[in-house]
């Protein structure tokens, strides 16, 4: 059961990663490329108050372009979702050993829980952002992101599997903790990326993630499910 759950989770991760990569290239990469025309640009304000933007000549000279860029996105999205799948499989395999058999429906719940822990909760403090958006120190944001994901995941597990009010209260506290501490914020949110573009990016990023995690969870549950009688185990 355990090895089937983990192998299935890895396969589900690659399948969900393909979906996420396709949706990213379609719905998100164009917004990133549009934002890059603003990144590194300077706003020039005239004496009469009108302003215009000087575009940066070449802001990402060394970064790959064209097919190489798309290939990088697809490959690293697959790596990320293979990792997400394995971690989801670890959770489901552990729960299975405590008597919570995996299946399609419980898998879907696991996937939505993963979406909440890895995407939604971190996005509350650090919204998905485009290049050129004002943000705080990178290491501080990475620390907070990791803390938020781990704390939310543990809190949701306590809420889902806890058997008494004390464990449930601990779960609520763990879900709230990162937001009470607060994510590192920039001194000001002034940036060169138009607000409408930033809003579209944040919502699309969460939408793509929700779909991909739902597929990841449901497929992991389906593959881990006890095989029908007579089938090869």
């Amino acid at each position: 059961m355990t090895s089937r759950t983990l192998t299935g989770a890895l396969i589900a991760g690659l399948v969900a990663g393909l979906l996420a990569a396709a949706l990213n290239l379609w719905a998100l990469t164009p917004l990133i490329q549009e934002a890059e025309t603003f990144e590194g640009a300077t706003v020039h304000v005239h004496e009469d108050g009108t302003e215009h933007v000087h575009e940066a000549a070449h802001s990402h000279e060394a970064a790959p372009e064209g097919l190489a860029r798309s290939f990088g996105t697809v490959a690293t999205t697959l790596v990320a979702y293979a990792g997400f799948g394995l971690l989801l499989g670890v959770g489901m395999a552990t729960a299975a050993r405590m008597g919570h058999a995996p299946g399609l429906r419980t898998g879907l719940l696991w996937g939505l829980g993963g979406f909440a822990a890895i995407q939604l909760a971190p996005a509350v403090g650090l919204p998905p952002e485009l290049p050129g958006t004002a943000s705080a120190d990178l290491a501080a944001r990475q620390m907070w992101w990791a803390l938020c994901a781990a704390s939310t995941a543990t809190g949701l597990a306590a809420l889902a599997f806890g058997r008494n009010a004390g464990v449930a209260a601990l779960g609520v506290a763990l879900v709230l903790l990162p937001h009470l501490l607060g994510a590192p914020q920039p001194p000001s949110h002034d940036g060169l990326v138009p607000p409408g573009l930033a809003a579209a990016f944040a919502t699309r990023s969460l939408g793509v993630a929700a779909l991909s995690w739902a597929l990841l969870g449901a497929l992991t549950g389906l593959l881990a499910q006890r095989a029908p009688r007579g089938a090869l185990a």
Binding site: L6, I32, A75, T76, G83, L86, A123, P128
Partner: protein, 56 residues
């Protein structure tokens, strides 16, 4: 006695498999989302923004 030790053995190998998957999973997420090496960063750039890993 025999059954007990076999059950124990199976338990331990499952625990190991779960621990191995956890380490591998965390490693893959680290490479995709956090590794600083510039080749990794450049390839992962758009994906990091899309998945909302802190980037830049």
């Amino acid at each position: 006695m025999m059954t007990f030790s076999i059950a124990r053995l199976r338990l331990d190998s499952e625990t190991l498999a779960i621990a191995f998957a956890a380490v591998l999973g965390l490693g893959l997420v680290f490479v995709a989302g956090f590794a600083n090496a510039s080749a990794v960063h450049d390839a992962a750039h758009d994906q990091r923004h899309a998945i909302a890993f802190p980037c830049h």
